[in-house]
Subunit: 265 residues, 2 copies
């Protein structure tokens, strides 16, 4: 996937959750997290005590055009300060903790965040520092924990990858794109009549050239050819191409036949 | 989320798709893609003509322990060579193209990949170079395209982020973690009887201290207190703590009452 040049027009539409990076260590990760947010339609970034200070040019360089998001990020000295105006707070937590708290998958959290935001409540998601994650006091301030279901034998998300998964789930929670469609552009999926028409053309030429000369096997062979073409979603344009191919192939064969006849005479 | 030290034990279990990075430019991205794969339970990496050659130490440094995955990666001169032994090939494609091809969401692709792999067919997913993406000849070799539904105003995934989304969907397609559960550790969600018991204790003490002295309002007040405690999933351990709090608060108040009485005498 490609990067983009220059700052994108990123205008928040509707109420969306705040991403709160708690004591992030690397400015590069802040920038990459902003890029991930913009991809998923998250626009509000808050930073709690970034280790190396703020602002840092390295973040902007890694944001791939999500500049406005970084420009608007606010700086906070504590988690309490960063979440004071929010109604619901979720804390990401990659490893099991010995606490009593609701725990959600990323998809479950995204669905809840959509519901909370639809009620015009302000929500936020805490992400901990790269190495250690959120501490117990950070998590005590959250309504619920979020743990992504991932390979337990290798649970090691980069900070920006973690933000990416959440932002992706936030976006897809409101997406209605069908899981699979045939992209046909200016042509259309062929009707069964168009397909029959082509199969009749093909069968005629296959009769003419002798490909179907074994009469007992002919019905099965014709049916198998039909199975192949009925299987997918052939378009009208593709059928025109196939008509042309059959005509041309048969034409060459006939020319050759005439040539051979004339040689024999 | 945290990084991990040293190579993780990454043993492929079952049949899983191959990730094919086509003409990747930066070794760092190859390493980060491997890290993303390991998180999502993808183990097979193939590289088609990496721009700066292969192997490169920078990839291993960015893989955060997904070493075995990089160690086992194979190098290919062309897409055709990299996919020759595969049965189904999907091509990621962030931007609309003017071609006739089925197009899937990441979730739709993950479901199909699970189905294909369950049939013991070999599947692969092509990811294009960072800047330009896959070219038209690459895409012509694929069964279907995959386009992630993301913010159309800012569609700019880093290569490793794109691999992350697909790996995440691959993993979650076989996940059965409930979207929300209350994590209670060694305690349990309190029964309604335990909750009644606590509410009776609290009401007794509130009667004793005069908090419920307005008798016409008393039933409504008691009900509102019940509403608060019935709302969530209080645990048995939390109820024991609440019993203790009520007892201790009432005890101090009574001590004070006795002190005041003795002062007045």
């Amino acid at each position: 996937m490609t990067g983009r040049d220059g700052g994108a027009e990123l205008t928040p539409t509707g109420n969306s959750p705040v991403v709160i990076l708690v004591r992030p260590q690397l400015a590069e990760n802040i920038g990459a997290a902003a890029r991930a947010m913009a991809n998923g339609g998250l626009f509000h970034l808050r930073l709690v005590a970034p280790r190396d200070g703020w602002p840092q040019a390295k973040a902007w360089r890694m944001s791939s055009g999500a500049d406005r998001l970084l420009d608007a990020a606010t700086l906070h000295s504590s988690v309490a300060d960063a979440i004071a105006d929010l109604h619901h707070v979720y804390a990401t937590c990659p490893r099991p903790r010995h606490i009593i708290k609701p725990i959600l998958t990323a998809r479950g959290a995204a669905a809840e965040l959509r519901a909370v935001c639809a009620r015009e409540l302000r929500a936020g998601v805490l992400f901990g520092p790269e190495r250690a994650g959120l501490d117990n006091d950070d998590m005590a301030q959250a309504d619920a924990l979020v743990r992504f279901p991932l390979n337990p034998a290798f649970m090691s998300l980069n900070l920006a990858q973690a933000v990416m998964v959440l932002a992706y789930e936030w976006w897809t929670a409101a997406e209605e794109t069908l899981p699979r469609v045939l992209m046909t552009n200016e042509t259309k999926v062929a009707t069964k009549g168009e397909l029959d028409n082509f199969l009749a053309h093909l069968t005629d030429e296959l009769d003419a050239c002798g490909f179907l000369r074994n009469l007992p096997k002919r019905p099965g062979m014709v049916r198998n050819i039909r199975h192949l073409f009925e299987r997918g979603e052939v378009t009208s344009q593709e059928l025109r191409t196939l008509h042309g191919i059959v005509t041309e192939l048969a034409h060459g064969r006939r020319q050759l036949g005439r040539l051979e006849e004339s040689e024999q005479t």
